[in-house]
Amino acid sequence: MVEHTPGAYLDHGAATAIDPRVRDAMAPYLDERFGNPEGLHDRSRDPAGAIDAARRDVAALIGADADGVIFTSGDTESRNLAVKGVAAANAHSGGHLVISAVEHPATVAASRTVTRVTGALTTVAVDAEGRIDPRALAAAVRDDTVLVSIAHGQPEIGTVQDVGALVAAVRGAGPRAAVHVDAGATAGLVAIDVGAWGCDLLTLGGGSLLGPRWAGALWVREGTRLHPLIEGGLQERGKRGGAHDVPGIVGLGEAARLAAAEMEARATHMAALGERLIDRLLRVPDVRLNGPRRGRVPGHVQVSAGGVEGETLTLALATRGVAASPGSACSAAGKASPVLEAIGLEAPWTHSAVLFTLAPSTTAAEVDRAAKAFAEAVAELRAMSPLPG
């Protein structure tokens, strides 16, 4: 048994425990139900049926048809499949891509790779809260645009976009462009309806569902041209080769089923505690909230503390038993976050961010301990700083 200092674990965006009910659903597929779902014998029937059921549960969570769900190794693979797969399948009709300035790094990297030679990539600016203007998005769409990518919930600053309005704007500007929505930060926490939105592809992963992080899905609307990223098999109708991760897929499906039933309660709890945390953090002098106060991913709080470096602050929190992430949950480097630059922040604010991500299991006591530790750590670091306060 690993012992942890009593404090607060508020880094669920980076890693969170799998729901015990999900783990129980997965366990038999690591044991006696090990069969190959592609096989023709008795051992194959149960795994094949379990994958079908998971496909239906994932589809139900997002208001989609089950046939459009492609299982992947997580939301990063889904983003890569969406960008590279659509670009490859539509190379004959154009190669221009549009992304927002606040996309996940995987979407940005995949889009840059696809357009490395042509340079046919347009990045649409956002406002000071990270919101995309539908008119600006429409203006970026060209006759040769094949894909527009939009992050539903921004994984660093938590901004939730009005996806329906953005998809409608793209449709009005260029009906040939497919629209990819990245729900890696929101699936299971914010309602998703691909039918109402009218998008063509949607990325999700197990983490936000309290399922396995190494399982994810890309939903693709029928008629959307997509090439596989991983080739070599008939799995997922040829769109994603390689042996199925049956335990992971079963876990993703069960997590999606539970999230659909419990979404409102989870979101309400996490949003309330997120507000509580924001209130307490902003009581510390010279601290700003990054992203909007309203319309954020539930339980997602990023702040910048003036005069304090983000990674140093995160380490100071860790010594007090509080787990958080410096700036982004996905990377910790010396460079300023492009997302913080996109919302207009400048140094030192771009280098002083700390991200707290809550879960349904988070308690008010944890939030209060984290806020207290934050105030102490900021005061201590400022007192040590050679810079004038």
Binding site: S93, E222, R225, H227, E231
Partner: protein
């Protein structure tokens, strides 16, 4: 019409995917196939000939091929 999307896959995957869909189709039911492996120009007529299904159409453009196969009555 049921459509098999085999875009981005290479021989023999398109024929495998089509065969699975044809197996689920009713006798006489047409199934469409989308593919962009040029070998489909050879594979699809040959497979239909061998299996007794009717190749109704096979057309191509810059985006690939669209075939229509009607399941045999047998």
């Amino acid at each position: 019409m049921r459509t098999v999307d085999a875009l981005g896959t290479w021989c023999p995957v398109p024929i495998h995917l089509l065969a699975a869909a044809i197996a689920e189709a009713a006798p006489g039911e047409p199934v469409a196939l989308l593919a962009d492996d040029p070998l489909i120009e050879v594979d699809l007529p040959a497979w239909c000939h061998d299996t007794g299904h009717e190749l109704v159409a096979l057309t191509g453009d810059a985006g690939g091929y669209r075939g229509i196969v009607r399941r045999g009555l047998a």
